[in-house]
Amino acid sequence: MDYDVNGTTIAADEEGYITNLADWTPDLAGVIAKAENIEMDDERWEVVNFLRDYYDEYQIAPAVRVLIKSVKKSMGPEKGNNKYMYELFPYGPAKQACKIAGLPKPTGCV
């Protein structure tokens, strides 16, 4: 399932995770989000950027409970909870947000 960003084709696997992490751009994030029926706003960008920072630091995409715990730690309990995160990303905050962030499928999502 490849993506088209302003005429450039970006390769992705059958689930929609991009193949080459270096291909990611904010424009691509918007295209992936659209394919997921998600409109990117400040709140969603905050989570996507958080995930990219997490990957930079630890070289993994965190499992959903680890993501929510880490968000709680850095952004507070009003954001670091299941309800808020699933409202932003209904098909799973880790899976969907990681896809939009251009990261691999989260490690520990069985």
């Binding site: 630890y58 070289q59 993994i60 965190p62 499992a63 490690t107 069985v110």
Partner: protein, 135 residues
């Protein structure tokens, strides 16, 4: 809910050159979702997995050593390193990266996850497990 079992993942191989070390770490991260009592052991060439300043640019594979620092987020907080294995390779604890976790029962104080133990202590740790998985 079944009772919690003690799992020990034994790492004996150098981080690169074979896939064992990376696969072991992936298994640990996936297994951490099951709320078991998880420990990791590093002995023989496995102690090289925790060395700091790893650079894999020349071999074209991902440097996954930073991922050990995420283990605390997954509530994996016991990394046992065998003293004799370090000694035999001319390594000291100063050569190992810092891995910490936040202790929920102690006001989230940051504590070291790496514990250096003797070969005899390592044997006791292994004898105390329900499940030992060797990589």
């Amino acid at each position: 809910m079944s009772e919690v079992k003690k799992f020990l993942y034994v790492n004996r191989k150098a981080p690169y050159g074979t896939i064992y070390a990376l696969e072991a770490l992936e298994v640990v991260l996936i297994g951490a979702a099951f709320d078991q009592d998880v420990s990791l052991a590093f002995l023989d060439d496995g102690v090289f997995q925790l060395t700091k300043g790893q650079n894999t640019d020349g071999i074209g594979v991902k440097n996954f050593s930073p991922t050990f620092r995420a283990l605390g987020d997954y509530e994996v907080t016991k990394l046992f390193v065998e003293q004799e294995s370090l000694d035999e390779r001319g390594l000291t604890t100063d050569d190992l990266q810092e891995v910490t976790y936040e202790d929920e029962d102690d006001d989230w104080a940051e504590k070291p996850s790496i514990r250096v133990v003797s070969r005899a202590e390592m044997a006791d740790i292994m004898a105390n497990q329900d499940v030992v998985l060797s990589f």
